[in-house]
């Protein structure tokens, strides 16, 4: 059953990668890469149970947070073209 779940996750990861490759806009690519990161978390969790080492869930937690922060950083870069710009001035 773990193998079936992992197969489904891997298929979804490849679909997301294909969308990231062909996505017409940059936001499609960011969406697909964020989805890929979420699937990575799931894959690590299921693989930990498959190999009998659920301690890998620590890695899954870290991947969740890194994925969140990384996506926000890339979004900010795509929006402003700069990671260190001041919002209060940029909005005027």
């Amino acid at each position: 059953m773990y193998v079936a779940g992992m197969a489904a996750i891997v298929v979804t990861m490849f679909l997301a990668l294909a969308r990231a490759a062909i996505g017409p806009t940059v936001f499609d690519r960011i969406l697909a890469v964020n989805m890929f990161g979420t699937k990575t978390v799931l894959l690590i969790a299921v693989a930990g149970f498959l190999t009998g080492r659920p301690e890998w869930l620590d890695l899954a937690i870290v991947y969740t947070l890194v994925n969140f922060t990384g996506t926000l950083a890339v979004l900010r870069f795509a929006r402003f073209g700069n990671l260190a710009r001041d919002d209060r001035k940029a909005d005027r």
């Binding site: 059953m1 079936a4 779940g5 997301a16 969308r19 697909a32 799931l42 969790a45 659920p54 996506t71």
Partner: protein, 110 residues
């Protein structure tokens, strides 16, 4: 391991995997960006939720289940935030909504 718990885990894992694949297919079938965010959100909520819930039945009452709850909580808070920020950035960037096209259905004049 208990047989009944194994069956529950298998059903939840396969249901979650099905939602993941359906979301991945939707990522290719939908025609514009704002609809694709809907397909991606399905994999983040239903797919991840069902799969992690299925793994919780294998963990039992232990530290493993607590970590699974943590992963689930982080996903449930970060996924809507990312979806909101992504759509807001795309809208602010001038990406047009398909619904705004006046020639689409003829009733967009209202």
């Amino acid at each position: 391991m208990n047989g009944a718990l194994d069956i529950v885990t298998a059903v939840l894992l396969i249901a979650g995997g099905l939602f993941c694949v359906v979301g991945g297919i939707g990522l290719h079938r939908f025609s514009e960006f704002y609809q694709r965010t809907h397909a991606a959100s399905v994999t983040d909520t239903a797919g991840a939720g069902l799969m992690l819930l299925g793994l919780m039945f294998q963990g039992g009452l232990s530290m493993v289940t607590l970590k699974l709850v943590l992963v689930l909580a982080f996903l449930f808070f970060s996924s809507p935030a990312i979806a909101h920020a992504l759509v807001k950035a795309a809208h602010g960037h001038g990406l047009a909504l398909e619904l705004d096209d006046p020639g689409r259905d003829g009733d967009a004049a209202g």
